[in-house]
Symmetry: C2
């Protein structure tokens, strides 16, 4: 008997996404599915309708930041109770920077086959386009909300980036982006590189990489309420030949 | 005058890739391009031919692990000397775990617009499918080659994973995968979770997540010469509600 499958289905990043990033591989995998675990019902329905699925035939279960351990137990039973299931995040790749990983973990324990589909990840798009170190990087989620703690954390991240020669990636609630930008220019040293990737995959996409010193001397970027990925790389003597063994996976 | 553009073009991961992960967005962006900087000429030609480009009209420049600072200077001049350019890695997303980031950095300094296209990243596919922590993770490239240093590094990574509640991602040259797997089962504690993502996007794709203890009691996985992403998460009391502020970017 073939193992039951959990498909990890990416959703577009932009509000006006047309799904034109999705190739036949994604479409063919998604079309036969009728059962979905979703982070956000509205955006999931919108996406699946765009992919050509018959909404009235679909079953939905929700897994979001409010879900508790007992919800996961129930979802695990539901996974086992019928056909293949698709998992969708609100936007981007499920199980990265969203609550989906707990369900994927359950699927492994149930012996299901987990199949990730190719789609947009704002973290990866931002890192590719930053020109910062793509051989070593860390995604840190959100920084602390309190300004004092946030400033300490920013200085820690720059120090760690210098020590590990590692790009530090983080995010903020879009309405607080401008404050985070100000805090970065106030707390980082002038030669540190800061990349901002805003409105990825949308017609208003903007991706800029500058030193903190250059950012301080430029008109401030307009980030308010625009989804933005922040990437920081501390200054160090860098050259393409410095590393003896560079990574070569993709 | 519109800024010149550098398109970051993902390439399929599997040897027998048909490009069916690429949607109209990727195809439409790639088709008009005639100038490319590539990591590996053969795989780039193969991919661009599959995308329908007329090979005899294309110009190629190589940027690989042997490229030096003066090669980058020359490439930067070449970027400026003509139309839009595409950057391709040997496989997967350019400028992540490959030498491309240095060119992207030059493009930013030249004031070019950098446009990342959506495609497969083995790191992201492996992380999505692992069920391990996708709220905080670090990509570490290769571990040291010497067995003694590698074992120390493995123990450091498990310790850091526990301290930061962070998934540690790394790779190995495929012909040494079996040794790395043995070293992981010998050096990590039995409750640490190890995920192996092998032959991603290929018909022989296998993705398994188990505790080190379970791996020790299972028949060893067949990883020899099969591209594999390794993901490690140390044991800790984890629940979906533990974190007060979970990341929600995609």
């Amino acid at each position: 008997m073939q193992n039951k499958r959990l498909f990890l289905i990416p959703v577009g990043l932009a509000a006006e996404d047309s799904g034109d990033w999705a190739g036949a591989h994604v479409r063919n995998a998604v079309l036969p599915l009728r059962r979905f675990v979703v982070e956000h019902a509205k955006s999931a329905r919108q996406f699946l309708k765009m992919m050509g699925l018959p909404l009235q035939e679909l079953e939905f279960e929700v897994l979001d930041e409010h879900s508790k351990a007992e919800d996961l137990d129930r979802l695990a039973c539901w996974l086992e109770s019928g056909d293949d299931v698709g998992l969708l995040s609100e936007a981007g790749c499920p199980a990265i920077a969203d609550p989906g990983a707990a369900l994927v973990s359950r699927a492994h324990r149930l012996g299901m086959r987990v199949i990730p589909l190719v789609g947009p990840s704002s973290i990866v798009l931002a890192l590719m386009a930053s020109g910062l170190n793509g051989q070593r990087f860390a995604f840190n989620g959100y920084l602390p909300q309190s300004p004092a703690e946030r400033d300490v954390r920013i200085r820690e991240l720059e120090e760690r980036s210098r020590r590990l020669d590692q790009t530090e990636i983080f995010i903020e609630a879009p309405y607080r982006n401008d404050q985070l930008f100000k805090a970065l220019t106030a707390n980082c040293t002038s030669k540190a590189m800061l990349s901002l990737a805003t409105d990825l995959t949308s017609p208003t996409e903007e991706i800029r990489t500058r030193s903190i010193g250059d950012w301080q001397q430029s008109p401030p970027p307009q980030l308010h309420k625009r989804p933005t990925v922040f990437l920081l790389l501390a200054d160090q003597a860098r050259s393409p030949n410095r590393r003896t063994r560079s990574a070569n996976v993709h």
